[in-house]
Symmetry: C2
């Protein structure tokens, strides 16, 4: 199967699309722009969800569920937010179908079942949630209110790509309410930190933490904190955002609380989200021309064991040894699949696990039985070693940690090699056009300059890094003074 | 708070609605018929999901995700299914909003953004899933295909009630494809069994397993297997259904496979689902006039510990003892909340945990410190005992099991007392009207008789029980011959 995969160097975009489908992660559906997430892809999402959910709960958040639909009058209440999403809203206008009198057996929308007020399918839930929070918040005793929701959302994008940009996607959206501005900003930054920790420790995907420039901010936010990752083709991926919303939604929905001092004040808000887009980032960070490469911490199957046998007797003897291995591995929390299907040859199985990015493959044949060995292959380096059966469990346990570490280091190295500090616009263009990656440059802080740079190079400001040092310089485009460098890149 | 709760005997329906809101489980939203599931209610749903998901995976199913929208042409492909849901479909007709030229700051649907084909918001996913399965199934090697999806669905119901019947609800829907009829029927029955086990072992809610009569069958199914529970007001609740779909969907979507013998055959199908409706059933099975009563296995908080103190010094001394208790309980997998809020008095905390159905409450005061004791109260019987601190962990562990058991036994006893075997239609009406509950009666097997009985008594056939014994009798309504009794009841 993997032989047919397009090479990254030939057509990165085609490679990505093919890989997602061939590795059984997702496919396009009959609904424009909507994907079907297949079991193997969904299993990765479940692993992501489990870790993120644990991290959200550890930081004091609770899950809840709010309606899929937002009445238009609520949707438009926070004007900037509404304006930002209006152009990509799926709208429910009717609540019934009826038999089509002209086409027997077919249905049509019942014209008598028109809704008095149209319902927007949520592109994000600030409006419906803040309308609900109004009833939940009266006094400082109700604050902070720390809520998360796992849900599907719909944004009618014109150009879609599996996982990266789909009309419907799965995500989590945190929505919190606080008594003070400082507390809300601290929360928004904390969640950026949670996302960065998740991306780096579990996805092995290094990220730059920073703030968005005005034009890239979430519609309705005062400040958007982001984590930005770099893909192998030199394009950046916005992997998660956390917004400080100020009092914008509290004012739009009139959510006030009585402070300790007995005063009526508007509540301060944050919202933050990551989505199935992360799976796209995971794929593009690690995978190679042979297929998917998954970091062990998120791999649905960490170890695949393939028996190599000529007859039932050999398979029986191998299976006996494998049972011991499987038990030992599972006892150490390692997920193992013993692939004893007799409908596929070992070579086909090897190809399948390579394509699907299973971190470790163990092969065991007749000679291994004689020598008390197994062959251990790692997916990231495509190298093999022969190991004594007595040492397999400890060896694999270390190996999984090593692979996780190696993937992260490799990605960090790639990013370092693809981050260019420039001083002139010539250097800027050269880096963006020929090398790709992040370009660190001085910027005069204006929307106009950002727009012009974007028009000329297609690069946007990915973020103003949190750790940007104060450095006196001049804007790479206008020559006006600047106090720190920001990161530009072409982006997904 | 609980003082204000309406008594069940006075108005069961009002009691239910009040309880759901007061216990912080859910509330109505700004969207007609859609609910907000609050954190405490959602925590129960998460516990249900975790157990069900484990049971699905243990029986070989994998999770996947399919689009929220179903193009109208796919939706109408299986005619009976389409007909069954057409009257309650939310329909997306447009994909964009625009500024309303007549009302500055307001939005309207953009008339130029009309979809060529309307999209139905899924009321159930057979159509979109079978359209996808077509691409996944070629040969017998691809079968059985055992898929589950956790999702939201929308059915535009006219009369809604929190959890029991809402326009949007959360559920899981299993969709499986098989090579033979027998295998599909076995699967459908297996999932009925899984649901029954979950209902009885985790929800402590006894259920009758049976098959639906023709008129109560799922639209598009050949046979619907159901689990039916009895609520405290004598009405039945359909708690979960599993459908044998025959080849209806395979034919509608042209899904064929090559058999081992090399023949092209249509695939056999099942689908099965349970929803947030289960939370309604949980509430109505166990709760009382003081509030919620939760079975320990699904209680988000199993033990609440309330300190009773006069000053900080006492609280410190109590907290020290409690820390040991909490550690011991958690080590045994028991979820504990130590409620040391100083903004509420012990009495208010007692009332809150009573209302929220926390199975065990522990109070510890100054005298307990002197005597090395705690006071343990159980929610189901509202009884209290003083226990030595040294024995608390073992005591509570046993007590939780005892409460789980007791709730189930109590519910079984209630059902036994409210199941009436009748021989005449007079007895039938008497039982339905004055006593409520299940009425076991002979029925001639016709839709007409069922319809007439429904019209006269509002009772419907809940199921033809799996364990119904062959028993020669005559239909309670028409006097025609019958070979087994079926269960009638008024139902939610």
């Amino acid at each position: 199967m993997s032989k047919k995969l397009t090479k990254r160097a030939d057509d990165y975009s085609k490679w990505y699309n093919e890989l997602v489908v061939k590795a059984d992660l997702a496919e396009n559906s009959a609904v424009r722009g909507c994907m079907v997430i297949k079991p193997y892809g969904y299993a990765i999402w479940e692993k992501m969800q489990a870790e993120l959910d644990r991290m959200f709960k550890e930081t004091g958040h609770e899950n809840a569920y709010f309606p899929l639909f937002v009445p238009k009058s609520l949707f438009e209440a926070e004007e900037k937010n509404a304006e930002g999403f209006a152009k990509e809203c799926a709208v429910v206008t009717h609540y019934r179908l009826q038999n089509d009198p002209d086409r027997p057996g077919k249905l049509r929308v019942d014209p008598d079942a028109k809704l008095e007020e149209e319902l927007v399918v949520r592109p994000t839930s600030e409006a419906i949630i803040w309308n609900t929070f109004k009833g939940w918040i009266q006094s400082y005793r109700n604050l902070p209110l720390l809520i998360n929701q796992w849900a599907n959302v719909v944004r009618w994008e014109m150009r879609t790509r599996l996982f990266l940009r789909t009309a419907e996607f799965l995500w989590q959206e945190g929505h919190t309410a606080h008594a003070t501005e400082t507390e809300a900003i601290t929360e928004a930054k904390q969640m950026q930190e949670v996302y960065a920790t998740f991306a780096e420790n579990f996805m092995a995907m290094p990220v730059v933490k920073g703030a968005k420039s005005e034009s890239e901010r979430f519609a309705g936010a005062i400040e958007t904190y982001t984590i930005e990752a770099l893909m192998q083709d030199g394009k950046a991926l916005q992997a998660g955002t956390s917004h400080f919303l100020g009092q914008n939604f509290a004012k739009a929905f009139d959510v006030k609380f009585t402070s300790k001092e007995g005063k009526q004040e508007y509540v301060w808000a944050t919202s933050w989200g990551v989505s199935t887009r992360l799976i796209g980032g995971l794929i593009m960070t690690h995978s190679d021309d042979f297929g998917l490469v998954l970091p062990p911490k998120l791999a649905p199957i960490q170890v695949a064991i393939v028996p190599i046998y000529k007859n039932d007797e050999q398979l029986a003897a191998i299976s006996e040894k494998v049972a011991v291995l499987v038990k030992g591995l599972r006892e150490n929390g390692i997920s193992v699949k013993f692939d004893n299907r007799d409908t596929y040859r070992p070579g086909a199985k090897f190809a399948e696990y390579e394509l699907k990015g299973v971190p470790v493959r163990i092969a065991i044949g007749n000679r291994d039985l004689e020598n008390n060995t197994v062959e251990v292959a790692r997916r990231d380096t495509l190298t093999k070693e022969t190991i004594s059966q007595d040492e397999v469990v400890a060896f694999v346990q270390n190996l999984l940690e090593e692979i996780q570490e190696h993937l992260f280091t490799k990605a960090i190295d790639f990013r370092t090699a693809h981050t260019t500090h420039v001083s002139t616009f010539e250097e800027f263009k050269e880096a963006i056009e020929n090398k790709g990656g992040f370009v660190s440059a001085h910027w005069d802080g204006t929307v106009e300059t950002e727009d012009q740079i974007k028009e000329l190079t297609k690069a946007t400001i990915r973020c103003i890094p949190n750790d940007a040092k104060k450095e006196v310089g001049t804007c790479v485009f206008t020559g006006k003074p600047s106090l720190k460098r920001v990161l530009f890149a072409k982006a997904y």
